[in-house]
Each structure stands twice: as structure tokens, then as C-alpha cells.
Chain length 420, copies 2
């Protein structure tokens, strides 16, 4: 396979054109059936998949890559079973296509219908975890789009076999195999080419760390949905139930600190700072959280480090938390709208007035009252799937489920109407 | 004013930051009232506006600019009255904000509400017509966003006075004047800077010719809605009512040939080519339309020029039409999906099966059955306004009314829910 790759350079434009042709057949095809065939194929070919993955892991280990990163790359029987189960779940979700979104009749009798349709060709640019290869492909397929995948170079062997298994399965349900394709080259110029392929790709979704996302957004000439970065805040108001507040803050910070909807900064109203901070910060320290804070925080709870401007701006993605005492809701809103990434923000309060103001004035995809920021997630939202979490305002905000990766068209039916 | 501009270079980042601050107040402000004040101010200051516009027109005439282009630039009493009337109409439209889009309750009791909210800061990059300055500003304001305007250099004097009038009017309704700002410089580097201002501008909408649109889409690192290009087709099927078909084709081509929803290519089923083409092409010729066609068209109707590949690709925006005889609906769909710009496409047919297939398989924002493509328009659709027509699939397709220039957020209310 390596030889084939070397002797025939990868043809991205051709790949995208084949994806376009394949995409035409998908809206009316048996997409559910195809996903069930894919789940079967992944399990049937488990030996081949795990062998390829073991090669990827071994090559990466030889480079001295840390265990945590190796773990992200690794597949095993259990994980593969989990991937196949997830594919079957997506097959069982309601079809996001052919939905009637709106309709009305113009004064001249022309009937307008607005219906959901596929994007066409979706590009995915992502890192490491080979499960994303399958996740992204089946979500795109279920939403009626062909998908062109570009995973990371260190997962290329795994991705080749996963994509081969999916492609083999598609014709068994009558779908064209070119509905799923891999950019089978580690050369980064194909990412640039994909991001410039206006007219050939309808949407690119990046998924990975901040530098990947930034590269895609800065480079792309095709439509992109920016995902991922979450510098999320929790504000504990003067009227908050402090016992519940402690539990929510702990959950938002430590339940899974490496994800985008975890909290990175705690804001506490000055009226409860002396009561609340010692207990919550002690609890956080016991959970292994490194703390930095403003002067007022440090005065109340010695041992907290000095928070710099960089701390307010940082998505730690780990067991670190910045803490600030604030004097008013205005100060809170200003802080969040200045440093936040418009992902998930929470107020813990007993005041319905403050809750409303916070939800109104804070600019974010998901604004919580008395709940953990960790609920911004396609599965928690009940979407049954998630291809990422949007942090831009164009098209979709927050969790991207199946409905969010479709678009619409207007169908207009008349009897010879002309414009006057 | 010229001196001030020269001595203090224009500060785009500062402009965008002031726009952001102003935007925070808009969702709950008296936006209707502000629009009515703007309409008044435009008429109160008509002498000043028309004088500035006369200077722009004189400067342009001195360059030898053709009359048609001068006309696009020119304002007079009647046009200014029309602009003010349009502003009042927008003030009377339903508020696109605070709309309840969806709501549900999660199994843990968390209530999710999805509501429409403003984008925040919208940038507009456009050409010539000074009426766009007012149109774009009031649509953005009505949709709760601050707007930063970049018109063409040759309309800068007009735009300065129009923007000054709007800014003066805003505080009279309690709105911050920085909700409307002008990029008061002809220097193109400010366009590049605007298109790169991630985090400072939430959306840029280009409006103008293909080269402007392409420049914006290729350059932008911020979210953009691509608008405008319309290579639209009309297909006359074997079962079409040929009398109505003739009227629709004529309307789609000649009623206003310079706009994006006018037809550029006529496709005719071979079964009716010999009957239909001589009459419709004669009618079109009498209306001043220059015709090019495929060999079969030219065999039926002598005098038609040779259509080249370039003709199928061209949006003429004038009294020109490409004509092609086709053998099947498959050929029609292939032609349109290959050459079309996903704007507006029409089938004229007596077959409901062919109508459905055409609407299903043709990839465009608006797909018509038995009606002119000219109806793809915010006013015709009943949106009451239009800031452009989207030809991309991300966010909104087709006419962009007030609802299409809003986004949404999720509001989640709980009682201390944490994630398990």
C-alpha cells in the first residue's frame, strides 16, 4: 500500500469529485442500513484493524510519545466494540433529512416549502483518536453527506483499515463506496488544498486542539464551523445555595478536566467570598486542583497563587482553576464577555432577576443557571450524537448533532407565475 | 473632515471594539424607535446628503465613468424618500430576537430553551449604491447587531453623511451611536484587516460583483456569508404548457436581466425543441436578447451563435441567453449541478414526477416548479427585507431577511444538576 501511495500521488481534487458524485445518491439511499453494515464490518475485520492500530502505536512509542497520548491512539477489542455500538446508535436516530421546516403561500399563489437537505461533501480534519474516523463518517452519512477524512499522520495505518472496512460495507446497503474517503497521505499540503477547494467541499469541520482549529479557521476559503475551545466560567452569586454551589463547581472542574465544557475560572460575589471560598477552595485542593486567584481571593485563602492576565485567558484543560472575587453582576458579565470563548457559562444564584440578566447578557452558546457547564454535549442535550461543539455564531452554536450538519433548500411550486 | 482623517489614521480595531460595546445594549433597546428616528434624520438632512452625493457623482463623472454606473451612485429627492420609506418598513417588521425556537427537558430535570439572539458585530463590504449603506445598517440594527460599513471609495462622501445622520439619530431613541460605524478610508488594507478580525467581528456579508465577493470569501478568516452569484437555469420539459413556458422564460430573462435571480441558460427537452424553440427564441430576440446555443438549438433556429463551455459557466447579468437541447431529466440535473451556482433553478413541466425529481436532485437554494426564477428575493418571499441572497449552504440559503441575520443561544435552567 505504501508503494501504491508513493507511485501514484494522492489526488485530492479527484477524491472530492468522486465524493460529490457519491453524495448525490445519499439523500434517498438506505443510510440506516449502511450504518448497520458498517458496524458489522468493523467487528468482522477487528483483527486487521487492531493489527494496523498496533503498528501505529508501536511507531509512536518508538518516538518516545508519552503514555497518555499513546492511550488516545490505542484501539482494543472493547473500544472497537464501543465504536460499533455507537454506529448502531446513530443508525437508530431520527432521519435529519426531508424534514418540513416551514411553508407558506405567497399572494400570487406560489407555495413555498423549506425542507432540510444534506450539505453534500463534508471535510473532517482531526487529530489522533481513530474513533473519530468512524464517528465523523457515520454522522456525515446519516446526515446524507459524503465525507472526506483527514486524520493525523500517526493514525494513518489505523485510519486506512477503518476506512477500507466502511467503504466495503457501503455497497452492501446499495450506497456508493466513495461516500467515505480518506486523504491517504500525511502531507499537510492536502489539508491546505482541502481548505481551498471552493465548490468541491461544502463544509469543513476541524476537531482537535486549539492550534489545529486555528490553522483550519485561518487557512480555509471554504465554509468552516469552528469548534472546541472552551474557556468556561462559573459565577457564584451572593444568593447562591452554597452547598449546591460547591458541588457544581467541583463537578465542572474535576469530573473530566480535559474537555472543552469544563470550568476554567470561578467568579465569586464578594458578599459570599469569605464564607464560600475557604470551603470550596479546600475541596478543590483536596481534589488535586492547582489554584491561582486575584488579591482578594488570596487574602481569604492563603496558598492560592497569583493569577495573571494569561490565567484569565487560558483554557487549562487540566486540574487548574483561576479564581476571582467580583463586586457586581456587571463585573461578571464584563469579565466573561472579555475572556470567554462563547462556549458554556454558568451562574449559581437564588435570584431569578440575576439569572435572567446573566442569560441575557452573557454571550455564549450555552448559558446555565444552577447547573454544571459540563452539560454542553450532544448526548446530554439528547441529540444522540455529536460531531463537535461549535464556538462560532454562524450556522450552529453549541453541540453539533445530526440536524446541525444538514442545511435546507426552498421548494417553490406554482402555475406559471411571473414577476411583475 | 478630510484633515481629521489625514492627521489621525483610521483605527479599525478601535472601531470594532466600540461596535462590540455598543452591540451589548441593542437586544433590549428600542430598535424600532431608532429606525424611525433614522428615517426622519435622513429626510431632515437631505440637502447635506444630496450635496455630498453630488460631489461623489461629479468626481466619478470627471473620471469618464459611464452613465449607467453614475446612475447607480446617484441619489435624488425621490430616491432618498424611497430609502427613508424602506427604513420605516423595516421598523414595522416583527422583531427577529427573543424568539422561542425550541425547548425540552432533560431526564435530570434541566430545562433547555433555544432562543434567537443577535450576532453582535456585523461587517458589510459592498459597492457603489449608497442606499446599501442605509439598508444594511438598519437591517443589522433591527436584528440587534452593531454594524461596521465599508462601501466603495467613490461613494465615501455620500456614505460619510448618511452614516453621520444615522449616528446622530440613534441616541434620540436611547441607542449608542457606535452601533453604526463607517470604515472612513478608501484604503483597501482595512478590508483585509476587517476580514481577519477574529473575535472582533462575528459575521461579514459581502454585497456586490463577483470579484468583490470572491475577494472577501478568499481573504476572510472570520465567518462570511457568500452572496450573489446566480447562474440560473430554466428547463422546459416535454410536458410543459408551452404558452406559459414562453411567458416564464421571457420573464426570467428580460424582466430585470442585471440581477442574480435572472435566468442565464435555457434547457429544452428534445421532444418539444422543434415546437417550442422557434417561438420562444423569436420572442426573446424581439426583446433584444442575444442568443447562443448548442448545435441542436442552432439547427432549429438559425442565427443563434455557438455556445462555448464559457457560456454554460457565465452569469451574463444582461440580455444574453445560452440555450441547450437535452434528451433527459438526468442530463438536465447533471448540467445544472455542474454549471449552476446553487442559487435559483426552475423546471416547467406537467409531470409531477419530474417536478419532484428536479426539486430533489437539483442542488440550489431555491428550486422552482412552473414559476420564474425571479421570485428568489426577500421581499417576494415575504421577509419584508433583504440584505443579500446566500449562495452557500452554511447558516442560511437564499434570501437573507432579518431572521437569517440572527443566531441563537441555549438557555439551560436547573436546580444544581451535576454531570455523572
Amino acid at each position: 500500500m505504501q508503494n501504491v501511495t508513493l507511485s501514484r500521488p494522492f489526488d485530492l481534487a479527484g477524491t472530492l469529485r468522486r465524493a460529490r458524485t457519491a453524495s448525490r445518491a445519499l439523500a434517498r439511499a438506505d443510510r440506516d442500513g449502511a450504518l448497520l453494515r458498517i458496524a458489522d464490518a468493523l467487528l468482522e475485520r477487528r483483527a486487521e484493524i487492531l493489527a494496523a492500530n498496533a503498528e501505529d502505536v508501536a511507531a509512536e512509542r518508538a518516538k518516545g510519545t508519552p503514555d497518555a497520548l499513546l492511550d488516545r491512539l490505542t484501539l482494543d477489542e472493547l473500544r472497537l466494540q464501543g465504536i460499533a455500538d455507537a454506529v448502531r446508535q446513530v443508525a437508530g436516530l431520527p432521519d435529519p433529512l426531508h424534514r418540513h421546516l416551514d411553508s407558506w403561500t405567497l399572494p400570487n399563489g406560489l407555495v413555498v416549502r423549506k425542507v432540510s437537505v444534506p450539505f453534500g461533501v463534508i471535510g473532517m480534519v482531526y487529530e489522533s483518536r481513530p474513533n473519530v474516523t468512524v464517528d465523523a463518517a457515520v454522522l456525515a452519512l446519516r446526515a446524507g453527506s459524503a465525507v472526506v477524512l483527514r486524520g493525523s499522520a500517526n493514525a494513518l495505518r489505523s485510519n486506512r483499515v477503518l476506512v477500507a472496512a466502511m467503504r466495503d460495507a457501503l455497497p452492501r446497503a446499495g450506497l456508493p463506496e466513495d461516500a467515505v474517503q480518506l486523504i491517504d497521505s500525511p502531507d499537510r499540503r492536502f489539508v491546505t488544498e482541502l481548505l481551498s477547494a471552493r465548490g468541491l467541499v461544502d463544509l469543513v469541520i476541524p476537531r482537535g486542539g486549539a492550534s489545529l482549529i486555528n490553522h483550519v479557521v485561518e487557512t480555509a476559503k471554504v465554509p468552516v464551523i469552528e469548534t472546541g475551545t472552551g474557556n468556561c466560567h462559573i459565577f457564584v452569586d451572593a444568593s447562591a445555595d452554597l452547598e449546591r454551589a460547591e458541588a457544581v463547581v467541583l463537578n465542572a472542574k474535576v469530573q473530566r478536566p480535559g474537555v472543552c465544557n469544563a470550568a476554567e475560572t470561578l467568579l465569586v460575589h464578594e458578599a459570599v467570598a469569605e464564607t464560600f471560598l475557604p470551603r470550596v477552595l479546600t475541596t478543590l485542593e483536596r481534589a488535586g486542583v492547582r489554584l491561582v486567584g486575584c488579591e482578594r481571593t488570596r487574602a481569604v485563602h492563603p496558598g492560592v497563587g497569583v493569577a495573571t492576565e494569561a490565567d484569565w485567558e487560558t483554557e487549562y484543560l487540566g486540574l487548574e482553576l483561576a479564581v476571582r472575587v467580583v463586586a457586581s453582576l456587571d463585573e461578571v458579565v464584563d469579565h466573561i464577555n472579555r475572556y470567554g470563548t462563547q462556549h458554556s457559562e454558568a451562574i449559581l444564584t437564588g435570584s431569578s432577576e440575576n439569572a435572567s440578566r446573566f442569560q441575557d447578557e452573557v454571550d455564549a452558546a450555552a448559558v446555565f443557571v444552577n447547573a454544571s457547564t459540563r452539560f454542553t454535549d450532544g448526548f446530554e442535550f439528547g441529540f444522540g450524537a455529536e460531531i463537535g461543539i461549535s464556538t462560532q455564531k454562524l450556522h450552529a452554536r453549541g453541540p453539533l448533532g445530526l440536524a446541525e450538519i444538514t442545511t435546507y433548500k426552498y421548494l417553490l411550486n406554482g402555475q406559471g407565475q411571473v414577476r411583475r
